[in-house]
Structure formats: C-alpha cells, structure tokens
C-alpha cells in the first residue's frame, strides 16, 4: 500500500479532504497519515499531496508482513515465549539471558528476510 504521512496543519487538512472525496482509494485512515490502495489512483492522490505541500508530505510504500517468510523462527519463538513469561515485570533482556532466545543487540542488527515471492 502507499503510506502518506503529513507534517503540517495545511497538509493534514488536504489529506482529510482527499480521503473524504476518494474513500474507495483509502485502505486505512490513521490521523494525519493514510494508507492508500496501491493503485494508480492511490499514487496519483499521494503525489498530488506532495506537489501541493512539498516536504510536509512523506510517501512510503508498504508491503504485507508475513512473519513466516520474513522473520527467522528464533525471533518468532522469542516473541511468543516472552509474552508467555511468568513475571510481567521481567524485561526482555533479563528474560532471554541464559536461553537460546536472541539478545536485544542481535535483534537490532538482524535484517529480515526478503519476503518477495
């Protein structure tokens, strides 16, 4: 999808107007940001906003998140295990030490798999 984030009151207002006028092109409205459908119309609306508001409009392209493709199993297991921990106040770093779960430093440096098929 096409993510449009606005950074000024004027740009935010234009985004609102555009979303109201083109509901069919909008996948999700998120306050001052919107996910447009990945279509020519979605791209057209996003580019129009940037033409009008320049640096106050950020456009990014998103893609579906498939954790079974993009995320190594160890990370998935770690997330699951941590949410099942017995003590809610245990920070992740303490939780994982002495286990096979990845350390926060490892997680930070780890790139995800390319999930394009």
């Amino acid at each position: 999808m096409i993510l449009v984030v606005t950074y000024s009151t004027d740009a935010r207002q234009t985004l609102r107007n555009v979303c109201t006028a083109h509901e069919g092109a909008v996948a999700r409205r998120l306050g001052r940001a919107t996910l447009f459908e990945e279509t020519g119309l979605g791209a057209f609306l996003a580019l129009r906003l940037r033409e009008k508001h320049g640096s106050d409009v950020q456009i990014e392209r998103t893609r579906p998140f498939n954790e079974f493709v993009a995320v190594p199993e160890g990370i998935r297991n770690a997330a699951q295990a941590y949410e099942e921990r017995s003590s809610a106040s245990t920070p992740y770093e303490k939780f994982q030490s002495g286990t096979a779960h990845p350390a926060p430093r490892e997680l930070r440096g780890r790139a995800l798999n390319d999930d394009e098929h």
């Binding site: 984030v5 950074y7 000024s8 009151t9 320049g54 640096s55 106050d56 950020q58």
Partner: protein, 301 residues
C-alpha cells in the same frame, strides 16, 4: 453619574465612543438621496438600501447613502450587520468584549509555545533527485545486463557455427566492463539515497514537533478565548434575557443555545457603541424600539 460610558473610562484616548446613558443611543446623521435624517433610529426601508450599502456607509464608503457616525471597530465586522445570514463566533466576540473591559488572558504557556514555534525552521527534505538517480541507474543496468546476455548468446552461437568470435568477444568484454561500472554507480546512488533518507528522518522529527506545537497553540488560544469570554458571560446572559429571542444562555460560552441574531443583539446591548448597527430582521416593534433596547443607534434596512 458617569457620563463617559464604560469603554470611555477604561480606554482613554480610544476613538471608541459609547452612548452616554443606557436607553439613550447616540444620534447619527444619514443622508440618502436628497434627504437628511437625524436620530438614533433611522429607517431606510423606503429607499431600498441593502445591508451592504448601509454597512459601507457606516464605514465611510457610502455612495448612494452616507452616514455620519463613530467609525466602526472590529466588533462591527463581527455583528454590525444583523440579518438572516449572520454567523457569529460567540467566543471570539465575547473575548473581544472582555478585552475591552480590561480583562486579560494568562498567556504564559501560549507565549512560550509561540516563541519555540518562531525558532523552528525545519529545512526542506526533497529526495526526488536522489530517487531519480537510483531509478535511472537501475534502468541503465538492466539495459546493459540484457546486452551482455545477448552477446553471450551470440558468442555461443558463433562458436557452435565455427565462426570468427573475436569481434563478439571484444564487444562482450566492453559490455561486461560497462555493466560493472554502471552497477557501481547504481550502488552508490542507492547508498546516497539511504543516507538522505536517514537525514530526512531528523527533518521530519522537526516538522512533527512543529505540527504538535501548532496544534497546542491553537488549543491554548481557543481555551484562553473561552476563559476570557466567560469573564463577561454573566453580563451577556443578562443581556440575552433582555433582548427579543428565545435563546437559553446557560452558564458559559459553550452552553449558549440560541440563534446568532439574539446573541448579536445581546452583545450590542453590552457594548452600547456609538457606531450604529444595521438591522435587517423583524425582531423589534420599530427601529426606535430596537435602538432603545440595544442602546446603540440603529439603521433599519
């Protein structure tokens, strides 16, 4: 009895004049066609003067009709013409009235928000050129990769056919060398874009901060305006009950439940300006009655 009027006392040196006494609106002089009318209530309906023409006359820009009166202030813009299309921002108007009565808002936080806003000047973050370079480099690379593949195929075919391959080999070597160069350029362009994207994040942080401050500024200003207006709300509510209309004022500016004309009448009655009000609604028995209730000179159109 004080004869200067409330505003005259609080704003010495200001040109805002007020009626000397409640119930005695200032007299104005209206000239329309060949007729001169003096009084505190002037009925212009026989001359078919429009609200716009009457307002222009009060602002000193009348053509068909001229009116000699105290020059209008900001309140005249807001409620000087009472007709069916009147749209009043009651909070803002009552805040203006409160300010004229000497009330001041506590602008501490608003001032600091505005000071910070004034210092924020986020630079632009336009990465279009860098994105274009990445796209162009990618196109060049694909074209060359295709050429290398074609030449490889040609070389193979020539070898199998026992033809001379020296020219093809040379062309292939050139294409491969060029592909290497173009690939390096593409990687460089991608890295430059990545660096610029990282820088853009800082700039967007600043823009986000600015947006939050602008929202804060607007909310603070609105709240201050409401607080300011509430200082005079009791007086406004009293006036609402005195003027014709069915409004229920409630206890604060957010509770007002009624039409804009009634609110405008109440504010006019509160401020008792020497500047006339233009009335184009049937709420009073006569223009004289209107002037009497409102305490301001009235021009009926």
């Amino acid at each position: 009895m004080n004869t200067e009027g409330v505003l005259g006392r609080e704003w010495p040196g200001r040109t805002v004049a007020t009626a000397p006494l409640p119930g005695h609106p200032t007299r104005i002089r209206v000239r329309v066609a060949d007729t001169v009318i003096d009084g505190s209530a002037v009925d212009l309906r026989p001359w078919s003067i429009t609200t716009d023409e009457a307002a222009a006359a009060i602002r000193g820009r009348g053509e068909e009709c001229t009116i000699a009166c105290a020059s209008p202030g900001p309140l005249f813009d807001a409620l000087g013409v009472v007709d069916a299309s009147l749209s009043l921002s009651l909070g803002r108007v009552l805040a203006t009235v409160a300010r004229r009565r000497g009330y001041r808002e506590a602008t501490g936080e608003l001032a600091s928000v505005r000071t910070e806003l004034a210092t924020l000047a986020p630079p632009p973050c336009d990465l279009a050129e860098k994105r274009r370079q990445v796209a162009d480099a990618g196109d060049d690379e694909s074209a060359l990769a295709e050429r290398v593949a074609t030449l490889r195929g040609e070389l193979l075919a020539r070898k199998e056919a026992n033809e001379d391959v020296s020219e093809t080999e040379a062309a292939l070597a050139d294409a491969v060398a060029e592909l290497t160069t173009v690939r390096t350029e593409r990687l460089a362009a991608e890295q430059a874009l990545e660096r610029a994207q990282a820088d853009a994040r800082t700039i967007r942080d600043q823009r986000e901060r600015r947006l939050r401050l602008q929202d804060r500024e607007r909310n603070l200003a609105r709240a201050l305006c409401r607080d300011l207006a509430d200082n005079v709300y009791e007086a406004f509510a009293d006036a609402v009950r005195t003027v014709p209309g069915t409004a229920t004022p409630g206890n604060s500016v957010t509770e007002y439940d009624g039409d804009d004309a009634t609110a405008a009448f109440a504010v006019l009655r509160m401020v008792r300006t020497a500047t006339p009000a233009v009335l184009a609604v049937d709420r009073f028995r006569s223009p004289e009655h209107a002037a009497d209730v409102l305490g301001v000179p009235v021009v009926r159109v």
